[in-house]
Structures are given as structure tokens and as C-alpha cells.
Amino acid sequence: MSERLADTAPPTRRLPGEQGTWVFLLGDMLVFGVFFATFMVERAREPTQFDTARRTLHTGIGFTNTLVLLLSSLLVVLAISALRHGLTKPARACTLGAMCCGMLFVALKAAEYWSMVAAGHGAGAGTFYLYYFSLTGLHLLHVVLGLAVLAFVLSQVRRPELSPTRVAVIEGAACFWHLVDLLWIVLFPLLYLVS
């Protein structure tokens, strides 16, 4: 497997994953970009209400979730690197670690949702909260899809040999997980920090 993977290791310029994957990833980034801009436009209409509502969010949970996703991304990078060097055990351990981080993110987000609804700050409590639940809910869906994608990577890591096509699919899967991290990197300051 290491020889096959070494053949596909980055030389000068190469596309990580397959072309189709990048059409999807860039499209998703563009759609979220429009959502981010729409949120800012709505925010400009009611700046005081948005800022008051923003202060009711749990910044500590948002911050922790950012660190959790960053750690998961690093673990995915390590998993891919290990796979390229034929180290299946570390690759498996890192993929599992990334999945644990993803599950921790979901648990923390669920706790935050529960706490906010209990405090009367549900999706119907105002425009800010509607946007908050819509944007973070859509992102949460990406996290759950990402966990399924990482489960696929884990199943591939166990294989004794990987074809170049399969390696490209694994790289694309890793890029999807990084996209989940990338989107949260924008969502966190947009919702929790910009006053």
C-alpha cells in the first residue's frame, strides 16, 4: 500500500481528491458565503437587537467547539500523512480521534441548544436566534455528514491495498471534513464575536 500511496504523494502541483469533489466543496463554500452575507445584512437592519441577543450565546462553548474542530482537522491531516507512509495503525487511530472530536462537537452543540431553548432563546425568540439556529443547524448537518465520511475513511484505512482512485476519494473525504472546520471558523466570530 505504501508504494501505491507514495506514487500519489504530492510532487509539485496536484489536485487533492477528485475534480467533482472540488465542484461540490467550492459550491458549498459559495452557498455559505451567501448565507454569511445575508446574516450581516439582517444584522445591519437591527444592530442593537442582534448585539443584545449575541451576548446571550455561550461563547465558552463556541470557543471550545472551535478548538475541538481544529484538533479534529489536525488529526485528519495526520491520518492522511500516516496513510501515505503506509502506517495504517496511526492512520486508524487519528481517524478515530477525529471522529471522537466530531462527536464531542455535536454533544456540546446539543447542550448549547438545550440551554438556550430552556432560557427562552429558541428559534422563535427573534431574527438573530432564527439565523443562529438555521446557520448552526445547517453546519451541524455538515458535521454529521462529515462523521459518516470519516467512518468511510476508517473502513478504507483497514484495507491492505488502496488504488490511486480510492486514495483520491479518501483525500476528498478528508477535504470535506476540513470544509466543516472551515465553515465553523467563519460562523464562530460572525455569531459570537462581531458586535
Binding site: L15, L78, H178, L193
Partner: protein, 89 residues
């Protein structure tokens, strides 16, 4: 290659930068009042973090030039559009 060696790569360095940038943006964002400049800086840090994730985690640094240009443009446009809406709308 042991995990420790894998950490001593550009991706590992970028990860440390990403953590530092996250801490900095939270420190800036919390209780800084209503300073417009601070919010624009926080959005700038976010765009810079997105760029690091793309270049070093998604391996776009060595991707075909077209894809890299599209991604870099996205990062700049994201910061510029969000900041412009924040400042002038």
C-alpha cells in the same frame, strides 16, 4: 514516520497559528465595546484562518493554480464583503 515528525510540518505549524489566532480573536471579540475596527480585524483573522485551513490542511498550496486562485479570491472576497456590509450598511 512517527506522529511527532508528522507534526513538525507546515500543517503542524499552521495548526499552532490557528489556535493562537482563535485565542486572539476571542480576546479581541469579548467585551471590546462597539469598536468597528475590532470587528473588521476579527473578520480578517477568520478569513486568514480559512486560508490556512485551505492551503495547509486541504493541500491547496500545491493545487493547480486555477483552484488556488479561486480559493484565495474566496478568502479575500469573504473578508471584504462581510466587512463592507458591517461598515457601510
Amino acid at each position: 514516520m512517527p506522529i511527532v515528525q508528522l507534526l513538525c510540518t507546515r500543517a503542524g505549524f499552521s495548526w499552532v497559528l490557528l489556535i493562537a489566532a482563535t485565542v486572539a480573536s476571542v480576546a479581541l471579540g469579548i467585551d471590546h465595546g462597539t469598536g468597528a475596527a475590532v470587528s473588521v480585524v476579527v473578520l480578517g483573522i477568520a478569513a486568514a484562518k480559512v486560508r490556512l485551513v485551505g492551503l495547509d490542511f486541504m493541500e491547496l498550496r500545491h493545487a493547480p493554480l486555477g483552484l488556488r486562485i479561486v480559493f484565495e479570491t474566496y478568502c479575500v472576497a469573504l473578508w471584504a464583503v462581510l466587512s463592507a456590509i458591517y461598515l457601510w450598511l
